[in-house]
Structure formats: structure tokens, C-alpha cells
């Protein structure tokens, strides 16, 4: 049977745009341009490479997000994924990471998988914990934060660059993997890929389809709450000098005044 790879991807507000919060303290996902989280492109890339190496694999991309999140799925399909699953329900708005992991775990069970691939972190929430939560919920080994990954003979292997050491890690499938931005440049969609993506199937699921009650998710079902949001006060304008031969000395004088020297 062919290897079923599911890549979890997130639709996020563009980091180079004007990211902000909506009135209910959730991320404004409507007034700001969104895209496939750049860090999830690495997940799609590694899934495609694993699929190519195996010769008999199917790559599904899965997202939980609002209507526009289909743009993220299209991008992943145009890179080469075979099909997509979009979990979308108004009641999901404002869900925290515990709730999101519950939704994705149920969706994965429904879709079926041998290997789940995630990015290292989203570029908006940036928690970097969802893959670990999926492993916990699904009772699978987590093989995460990999800078190198391969699958052979039903075993996933990789290199994890930790704070204090570099580790070689491995686990038998099924497993949950996350890959870093060191894992290899993501491919650009080709024109052919973009055209083909338009015809690839996108399955829509809502909370009913996943047997999840509305009050288990959303702002009300969250186990965390935001009390206040404030724009960080702008840094007071600093002193800028042009180096006319004394720039290093002027900087030294400043650092001495600030007691760094």
C-alpha cells in the first residue's frame, strides 16, 4: 500500500505586512494579506522529497483555517501535493493551541496517515508545539525539529540540532515529524504545477464531520485567555552619526556613557 503522508500547513498573516489584532483580541486574519506560512513550505518540500524517494506515496495537505486558508492549500498543491483537506467552521475562530491540536488530530484520523509532517513553528503564533501535541494525542512518536529527514523501510530518521547537542533520532512509522528551515530550500511552483493545482481535489470538513462540539473549541472553549493587547511603545528615536573617521570612537563614548565599557 502506498505511503500516506499528510502535511499540516497554516495560513498566516504576511509577516512583512501590518500584522495586528482584531477587537476580540484574536489575530486579525481578514484585514491583512495572508499566505502559506513560509516555514510550512519546508514541510511540504520534505514530504514531496520523501514521496519521490519512495516512488509510491500520496501527499495530502491539511489546514485548519478560515475561507482564505484555501490559498495556502492551493500553493501547496501547486508545489506538487496530490490533494487537500480544509477544516473550516465559524466556531473555530479564536481556538487556542490545545483546541487546534484536537481538531487536527481528529481530522488526521479521518483522512488516514502513515506519516504526519509539520513545520517547526507557525510564523504568527510561533509556539512550535503543535507537532508535539499531535504526537501526544495520536499516541505516536514525535520526531521533531529535524534539519535532515529520510524514510526507509518504515523507519523515519533525522538530525535534530538541539541547544546543547546534535542528535540522530529515529522512530518507526506511523510518526509525527517536524522540519526546520535548515532542512532544504522549498521548490517554487512551476507554471504546470499551478495549472494542475486548480484541478486537484480539496475536501472540506466542518466540526460536525469531526464529531467536535462547538463549545470544545473557539474563544469560549480555550484553556487560555488574552487579558490585554498593546502595541509596543515605539523605540525613542536614536542618535545616528555618519562615520567621518571617528565613528568607532564616538560609538565607544556612547557605550561608556551607558556603562557598557
Amino acid at each position: 500500500m502506498s505511503l500516506r503522508i499528510v502535511v499540516c500547513v497554516k495560513y498566516v498573516p504576511d509577516a512583512t505586512g501590518d500584522r495586528r489584532f482584531a477587537d476580540d483580541t484574536t489575530t486579525d486574519r481578514e484585514g491583512v494579506d495572508g499566505l502559506l506560512s513560509e516555514l510550512d513550505e519546508y514541510g511540504v518540500e520534505q514530504a514531496l522529497r520523501i514521496a519521490e524517494a519512495s516512488g509510491d506515496a500520496e501527499v495530502t495537505v491539511l489546514t485548519v483555517g478560515p475561507d482564505d486558508a484555501k490559498d495556502a492549500l492551493r500553493k501547496a498543491l501547486s508545489m506538487g501535493a496530490d490533494k487537500a483537506v480544509h477544516v473550516n467552521d465559524d466556531d473555530i475562530h479564536g481556538t487556542d493551541v490545545i483546541g487546534t491540536s484536537a481538531i487536527i488530530a481528529k481530522a488526521l484520523d479521518k483522512v488516514g496517515y502513515d506519516l504526519v509532517v509539520c513545520g517547526m513553528a507557525s510564523t504568527d503564533g510561533t509556539m512550535g508545539v503543535l507537532p508535539a501535541l499531535l504526537a501526544e494525542r495520536l499516541g505516536l512518536p514525535q520526531v521533531t525539529l529535524l534539519s535532515e529527514v529520510s524514510v526507509e523501510g518504515g523507519v523515519v530518521k533525522g538530525r535534530r540540532d538541539g541547544d546543547a547537542a546534535t542528535e540522530q533520532v529515529e522512530a518507526e512509522l506511523p510518526a509525527v515529524v517536524s522540519v526546520t528551515d535548515q532542512s532544504g530550500e522549498a521548490r517554487y511552483p512551476s507554471f504546470k504545477g499551478i495549472m494542475a493545482a486548480k484541478k486537484k481535489p480539496v475536501q472540506s470538513l466542518d466540526l460536525d464531520d469531526l464529531d467536535i462540539e462547538a463549545d470544545e473549541v473557539g474563544l469560549a472553549g480555550s484553556w487560555t485567555a488574552v487579558e490585554a493587547v498593546a502595541a509596543r511603545p515605539a523605540r525613542t528615536a536614536g542618535t545616528i552619526v555618519k562615520d567621518e573617521g571617528e565613528g568607532g570612537k564616538q560609538l565607544a563614548t556612547y557605550l561608556a556613557e551607558q556603562k557598557f565599557i
Partner: protein, 320 residues
């Protein structure tokens, strides 16, 4: 006030500074206890240090599992200890592994989780965490509303303050469960002899403007004169000029030193995400329009290969 569990991060048999910061923060919200896992013969020394910084109790568990299997054994241990102690909160250092451990512990305890806090204070309904989000352009105050809060805190969020307590060691036998990935080999990172990037009071970083591997010489010389850690932008790391462990930014380390010096770095949003909470920011860049100058307290428009050596010379002269 309840018992606040602090997972003590240690390396090479010594407590890492962020753990002492967590113990200091824990005292604001309850009574700290330390959890020391897989420390082998260094456990007693680590426990004593935790006691110095306010831990009344130190839970110690050991076993080959902590080194041989990824993440899960630490989750098993911390969950078991939190349940037995009926912990009021659990604090973990925000590192890649720390966040993964914290998240799984939260799920097992039925608790909400907050990651990457930069401050923590006692509130009416439990601890209130401050997060710095969207590349540090917003400050969010949040709290956990279900279960004992599990919170990960970034290094350098506070300065460690000693507050001697009993530090009574309690040995724990952990029941290991669940499926975990095997660690088949481990290569410890070779220390550069410089301060740890996330813990340093001063960080000097170089970017694409440094031009080549050899170019980092002037960055390292300034860092050594200041007793600083060395950082690098992703452009410099991708070019192979400096190791990825030194990358500052969204997908590298997030640093919050007293002083951050950016040389030959333009100041892209993803770089800012890793350094914008630094207290004082200084930049050297030959382009007066570089976005990094929007952040700086002091900026020099000039060539880093003349400005940095001159600065290094001055620092050495002033320090005598």
C-alpha cells in the same frame, strides 16, 4: 500559595542560567520546587544550586531513558511529579525542547499552556504572563483559564536573585509510558568559550555585510573585548560563514540582552523577531536607509571594517 514546579535546564553537569531566572520568577507566584531530570551524579550539586535560588524541594529522577528517548521521558516525569505535588503551576525554559515538553505536560494535566513569556506576575485568578508577539511589535498579557498553568519563559526575562531555601532532595521513580523516538547518537556542541547566546548580557552580531567567513574576525574581536556572545543573521548563516546555532531571529535564537550590536545587518522583520526586545540596540551599517536604524539607540553609518576595529581598540584602551 501553592507549589510552583520549575523544570531545571542543565548542561555538562551545571545549572543553566535560565533555570535560576525561573526560580526567581516562581517566587512571585508561589513556592518554587525544582525538578532535576537525568543529571546523573551532578544531581546533588544542581539541587544545592536550586536551593540557593529558592527551591524548598528538589525532585530528582534519573535513568538512561532521559538520554536515550526524545522528549517523552521528561514529559512522563514532570507530569507524574506535578500530579503528586498537586502543583499550582509548571514553569519551563522556552527552548525548542522545553516548549515541546511543556505542551505535552499541559495536555496530560488538562491545563492550558502559554509559551514564550517575557514576564510573569501574580494575578487574581492565577499568574499573568506577558508575551511579546508579532516580532515584538505587540505586548500581550494572557493567562491560563483551565488547570494548573503551564508556562514557558524566555531566557533573560529577569535577573536571577538568590534566596536560600531548604533544597530538600526527594528522589522520584518515574513510570515511563508512551511511544518515543530513539536517540541513536548525540554529538555535544563544542563550546566557543564565549557566553551562551541566549544568556549573554551583550551580543555582537554580523550579517551579510561581513562579506565572508574571515570577515567575522572583526565581529569576534569586538565580542571578546566586550565579553559578549557572537550572533549572526540568517543570510550570514545560509552563506556558511557562521554556525546555525548562532543565528538570531525568528528561526534562530531569540535574544534579549542589555546591549545588542548589529553589524552589516539590514534589520529584516524575521531578524527583528529575535532581537527587538534588547534593552539597548546599536548598529553599524553603510546604508543610511537600512531599516535597522529605525530600532537603534545609537547608529553609525559607515563601513563595519573600519568602525568595528576602531571601536574594539577603544574598548580595550578604556578597559585598560
Amino acid at each position: 500559595m501553592g507549589e510552583i514546579l520549575v523544570l531545571v535546564d542543565h548542561a555538562d553537569g551545571a545549572v543553566r542560567k535560565p533555570a535560576l531566572e525561573l526560580l526567581t520568577l516562581a517566587r512571585r507566584i508561589g513556592e518554587p520546587s525544582a525538578v532535576v531530570l537525568g543529571a546523573g551524579s551532578a544531581a546533588a550539586e544542581i539541587a544545592a544550586k536550586a536551593g540557593e535560588y529558592g527551591a524548598a524541594k528538589v525532585y530528582v529522577a534519573d535513568g538512561a531513558e532521559f538520554a536515550d528517548l526524545l522528549v517523552v521521558p521528561k514529559v512522563d516525569a514532570l507530569t507524574q511529579i506535578a500530579k503528586a505535588a498537586d502543583a499550582a503551576a509548571v514553569l519551563v525554559t522556552s527552548s525548542g525542547e522545553g516548549k515541546e515538553i511543556a505542551a505535552r505536560v499541559a495536555l496530560r494535566l488538562g491545563s492550558g499552556i502559554i509559551t514564550d513569556a517575557v514576564d510573569l506576575e501574580a494575578g487574581d485568578g492565577g499568574p499573568v504572563a506577558t508575551q511579546s508577539v508579532f516580532a515584538a511589535s505587540f505586548q500581550v498579557k494572557s493567562k491560563v483559564t483551565k488547570g494548573a498553568p503551564v508556562i514557558t519563559v524566555k531566557p533573560n526575562s529577569t535577573s536571577p536573585e538568590a534566596a536560600p531555601a531548604a533544597g530538600a532532595v526527594e528522589n522520584v521513580t518515574v513510570e515511563f509510558t508512551g511511544k518515543a523516538a530513539k536517540v541513536t547518537s548525540r554529538t555535544p556542541r563544542v563550546s566557543s568559550g564565549r557566553p551562551e547566546l541566549t544568556e549573554a548580557a551583550i551580543v555582537v552580531s554580523g550579517g551579510r555585510g561581513v562579506g565572508a567567513k574571515e570577515g567575522f574576525g572583526v565581529v569576534e574581536e569586538l565580542a571578546d573585548a566586550l565579553g559578549a556572545a557572537v550572533g549572526a543573521s540568517r543570510a550570514a548563516v545560509d552563506a556558511g560563514w557562521y554556525p546555525h546555532t548562532n543565528q538570531v531571529g525568528q528561526t534562530g535564537k531569540q535574544v534579549s540582552p542589555q546591549l545588542y550590536v548589529a553589524a552589516g545587518i539590514s534589520g529584516a522583520i524575521q531578524h527583528r523577531a529575535g532581537m527587538q526586545t534588547s534593552k539597548t540596540i546599536v548598529a553599524i551599517n553603510k546604508d543610511p536607509e537600512a531599516p535597522i536604524f529605525e530600532l537603534v539607540d545609537y547608529g553609525v553609518v559607515g563601513d563595519l571594517f573600519t568602525v568595528l576595529p576602531q571601536l574594539t581598540g577603544e574598548v580595550k584602551a578604556r578597559k585598560g
